[in-house]
Amino acid sequence: MAKVLIELVRQHFPGAVLEAHAQHGDETIVVDPPRWHEVATWLRSAAPASMDMLSDLTAVDYPDRDPRFEIVAHFYSLTRGHRLRMKARVGARDGTGARIRSLADLWGSANWLEREAWDMFGVVFDGHPDLRRILLYPEFEGHPLRKDYDAQRIQPLIEYRDVPDIDKVAPFGPHEGMSFGRQTHARRASDDGADTEVFPGGEPS
């Protein structure tokens, strides 16, 4: 069904579809970024497509690729019951120049989804009515789901308490329900599995 749709898109927009594949009902097109909005408008309004629902819009960071980011939109047609995934590749390897035209004028749901993609990946959506952070706070610097964001970096809004051992790990060990987490693994590696006492002066009785 949607394979036909891919052919229709190719016919309507010669040269805009850079790649396409269809496997197990999983139809995908990769379009030229400048024509992203144009193709989306057609998918939204043309009768054979009728993509009246934007189920998801997000980004993927491939740090070794150029262009680095892949914008992924998932469309669904409630009337025709078919789906299509549309991707576009933007951004230089150093993370700059990641911009694409916003789809918020076509689907209302694109508004928040694009804000999330901006928040997490720093992709700019041109023409978005209100491109602010949606999950993180305005004081946050950087975009945490970029692969070059330091995994250890936190940006607290308030200062941590000034007490000794504030960076201590969980006050209990793996056998007490704490078998996961980066801190626990680091501690296990350094202690060779031994449970150390975290309260100086011994466990209160």
């Binding site: 993180l136 308030i158 504030i166 969980a170 056998h175 704490m178 987490g181 466990e203």
Partner: protein, 193 residues
Amino acid sequence: MGELTGAERRIVEAGAGDGFVTTKAEALLAWAQKYSLFMYPFVTACCGMEFMAMSGPRFDFSRFGAEAPRFSPRQSDLLWVVGTITQRQAPILRRIYEQMADPKWVLAFGTCASCGGFYDNYACVAGVDKIIPCDVYVPGCPPRPEAVLDGLMLLMDKIQKGDKRPGVVKPRTDPSTSQTHGLVQLRRRDSVV
């Protein structure tokens, strides 16, 4: 509560005649405080389900006098931090804590509140003790109701003793001997008659 048993008997001394006992004012005050904990539930995540089970009739922490939830921090003295605290929420939690009148206690309910658990990332506070002092940690994801009851009783014990050091609820199962102490045994379906 009416009859004095166990630990409570140790804090009172029988008087010379019938009908009165003597004790220290602090001990009496602590005894009253531990049985009248007004709680403020700061519920942010899935541990809230376990908290609801705790307040329901099956496990029922109102047996310990911790019955009435107060949604104003000024009227409460036990802060239950139930669930993950994000960096964005941290100022709110600290403000709630600061608004509570002394004496006040904090119970970290579950792994996320105690140490962040696997939410050890850019968005979350890895343990509420980074921003407010904690009295009792209840590990588990989510903790079993027995563990929460143990935590509440541990806190009551600390209030009675005036012990300000933090405490951790220990598991009821001994991992070395695999002995269980009062835990519900899960059975296979075919063994249930």
